[in-house]
């Protein structure tokens, strides 16, 4: 029986979030909190692996109490169990402190049920770093496989997995030992509309919630803001793109104008490999 864990995060929906024009930070109250879309794909992939090879899918998150909603969403997708670490002492964590805290929670989960495979989304849409996954792998000393776009096969008996990784000009097929950590691309799967029984299960589900004190061998100094060496020196909004130039005149004139622009900026068109 495989034990697959997906690490997930509840994030503000950055598609509709408003920015505070004074501080350039996100106004979190302006957007609903959702399951990080990349993580939904990680959970879905875990569920697919479970369906194919048998096993159990757990999800793990760190967040404030309302993040239970994100775990419920994972149960809707088909996860079996949910764990959450929630404590004020975790607050303000950067990717270093987050991966530390999650690793401590994983240690605790592993005590009752060893983990064969960890899945993460490629990155969160509010942080965009993609560092927490590899951070966890480093701390657990297991191979991190990033940019995974396909899981070819899982061989629990032989203790390895074969995946496709996205690279600049194509993809590579990699075999890795188990346990390992995959961070997955959006294209790995499509998250289907959840079944009604799963919706019922999620509505009833209460995840396991741990505070710092429930975890073992925790170095408090490595948690939260204290354990986060990242310094945000400055936040600024990217300059708005300037409006393009409108070509006017008869179709003939416009074609002449566009041709002269193209000839003028030749090098722009050549850079892409054209001639």
């Amino acid at each position: 029986m495989l034990h697959i864990i997906a690490c997930i995060k509840q994030v503000p929906d950055t598609k509709i979030i408003k920015m505070n024009p004074k501080t350039n930070t996100m106004d979190r109250a302006s957007a609903p909190a959702i399951l990080n879309p990349y993580d939904a794909h990680a959970v879905e992939e875990a569920v697919r692996i479970k369906k194919k090879y048998g096993g159990i899918v757990s999800v793990l998150t760190m967040g404030p109490p309302p993040a239970v909603k994100a775990i419920k969403k994972c149960i809707e997708i088909g996860a079996d169990e949910g764990y959450m670490i929630s404590d004020r002492r975790f607050a303000g964590a950067d990717t270093l402190a987050t991966s530390y805290a999650l690793t401590k929670a994983l240690d605790k989960i592993q005590k009752s049920r060893p983990v064969d495979l960890i899945l993460c989304g490629k990155m969160t849409i509010d942080g965009d770093t993609g560092q927490v996954g590899p951070g966890i792998a480093r701390r657990l000393d297991i191979p991190p496989l990033t940019s995974v776009k396909k899981v070819e096969s899982v061989h629990q008996e032989e203790g390895h997995i074969i995946v496709h990784r996205k690279i600049e000009d194509g993809h590579e097929v990699i075999q890795s030992t188990l346990p390992c950590l995959l961070s997955v691309e959006k294209e790995i799967n499509e998250v289907p509309y959840s079944s009604f029984p799963n919706m019922i299960k999620a509505a009833r589900y209460d995840p396991v919630i741990w505070s710092v004190d429930d975890l073992e061998d925790v170095d408090i100094k490595q948690l939260g803001l204290k354990g986060s060496p990242t310094i945000v020196a400055k936040v600024w909004a990217p300059p708005k793109p300037e409006g393009g130039k409108m070509l006017e005149g008869s179709p003939h004139d416009q074609v002449d104008q566009i041709l002269s622009v193209i000839l003028e900026k030749k090098e722009l068109f050549q850079a892409k490999g054209g001639s």
Binding site: S195, F196, I200, A203
Partner: protein, 431 residues
């Protein structure tokens, strides 16, 4: 086969939530299915929540529910193009417990109300559309949703799926509504500083005001406009019968823009910022448009049963009361182990004996009457404005002279008889 429930409630609005709340509280195993992302995400009303009927479900709810402002003043504006005759009532007794009514934002309030039903043990399933009732041998035995493995079974299904209930229609309970049986309301929520609202509407903090707009607010088309104060926003909207919009070839948002720009209204809105735009149908056919509300294994509540008192802009309170009475009936049916139409019909009887049924009957002809005789809105209200203008303009003419002129301006003796007849008719349909 999938899990069985005692009851399935379709739609998490005031009627559905009240019903699920009471059922769960009574120990029934109930699932509440909502198509929106969360309860309230698709629900719209101008924004007045009545205290009494809400307290019949949750006593003392105002201590914790997300409400905007208790209403201490209700104004009514009879509008012409550049004038208005206004009357209203303001009373401090409405500003303290037990309160009369409140303004609310449905997206917040419904979410809270549903969470109370969940606390009682109701199972809330969001983002799920019920596509049809499962009918076996003439009995409704469950519903089919748009999700995989989406059938759910129960002893009773409560249809609280709102105006134009497709489920009740597919059971043959009511026909497709005519355009003169439904109103289309459009509204905007405009962000405005708390302090500015209180200054502009002459309010203390935690006091609210509602203004109902008649006449030129809807360009004389049968309907009303409204302007309500929330905590730090205003709700403004207009609603007219669909038939009126069709007849006058006017688009609903044009009407909303018109009223927002009206010289009687514009100053209230100055400096506000559009936050949300909403639109919704309101069942305004009244008693005569009500279809069947009970069948074997099924009960219809709220807007789905056409329970709206258009004259008094009441709906959510009728909805909650119907939901509560439906729940009481279902708990009774569970004890008896009988879910037949004969037993569930007690819901209809009780509903019609309550203020809901009584008010529906009282105003059964009102909307139809005003729809048939448009002069109330497009002639008499301007007339009222002209009279007020003449009477209150001080220009050296004696008041007797003014009265005489006003009387003359109303029209020929035949006109006056017609107005008297219309006044009598209006009294007849409203009494």
């Amino acid at each position: 086969m999938s899990e069985r429930f005692d009851c399935i409630v379709v739609g998490a609005g005031p009627a559905g939530i009240a019903c699920a709340y009471e059922l769960a509280k009574g120990g029934a195993k109930v699932v509440l299915i909502e198509r929106g992302e969360y309860p309230g995400s698709k629900n719209v009303m101008g924004g007045v929540l009545y205290r009494q009927m809400m307290e019949d479900v949750i006593p003392g709810f105002y201590q914790e529910a997300p409400l905007e402002r208790p209403i201490v003043e209700q104004r009514f504006m009879m509008m012409d193009k550049e004038s208005a005759v206004t009357f209203g009532y303001k009373g401090m007794e409405w500003g303290k417990e037990p309160y009369n009514n409140f303004t609310v934002l449905r997206a917040k309030f419904d979410q809270w109300f549903a969470s109370k039903a969940v606390e009682q043990g109701a199972l809330l399933i969001n983002e799920t559309v019920v596509t049809e009732c499962i009918v076996e041998e003439g009995r409704v035995v469950g519903v089919r949703t748009d999700r995989p493995d989406g059938e759910v079974y129960a002893d009773v299904v409560v249809l609280a799926d709102g105006v134009n209930s497709l489920l009740a229609k597919s059971l043959g309970f009511h026909k497709e509504y005519r355009p003169d049986e439904v109103a289309l309301a459009t509204m905007e929520i405009l962000k405005l500083d708390k302090k500015v609202i209180e200054d502009r509407f002459n309010l203390e903090p935690n006091q609210g005001c509602t203004i109902e707009l008649f006449g030129d607010a809807t360009k004389g088309i049968l309907g009303t406009g409204f302007l309500y104060t929330n905590k730090d926003s205003l709700s403004i909207g207009v609603g007219t019968l669909l038939s009126g919009l069709i007849k006058h070839k006017i688009r609903p948002y044009e009407l909303l823009e018109y009223v927002k720009d009206h010289p009687m209204i514009r100053p209230y809105l100055q400096g506000s910022e559009q936050q949300e735009y909403l639109a919704h149908l309101i069942p305004e056919g009244g008693y005569k448009s009500m279809g069947k509300v009970v069948g074997d294994g099924v009960i219809v509540v709220g807007d789905a049963a056409q329970l709206v008192n258009a004259i008094h802009r009441e709906g959510s309170n009728l909805a909650m009361t119907s939901g509560r009475i439906a729940a009481e009936t279902i708990l009774l049916a569970m004890q008896a182990g009988d879910f037949s139409e004969a037993l569930l019909d007690r819901y209809r009887v009780k509903l019609m004996n309550s203020f809901v049924g009584q008010d529906m009957k009282k105003y059964k002809d009102s909307t139809h009457h005003f729809d048939k005789f448009p002069q109330y809105f497009d002639q008499y209200i301007p007339m009222m404005n002209r009279a007020a203008s003449q009477m209150f303009t001080v220009d050296g003419k004696s008041k007797w002279e003014k009265q005489k002129k006003i009387w003359k301006d109303i029209g020929s003796p035949r006109e006056k008889i017609k107005i008297a007849r219309d006044a009598y008719r209006a009294w007849r349909v409203m009494k």
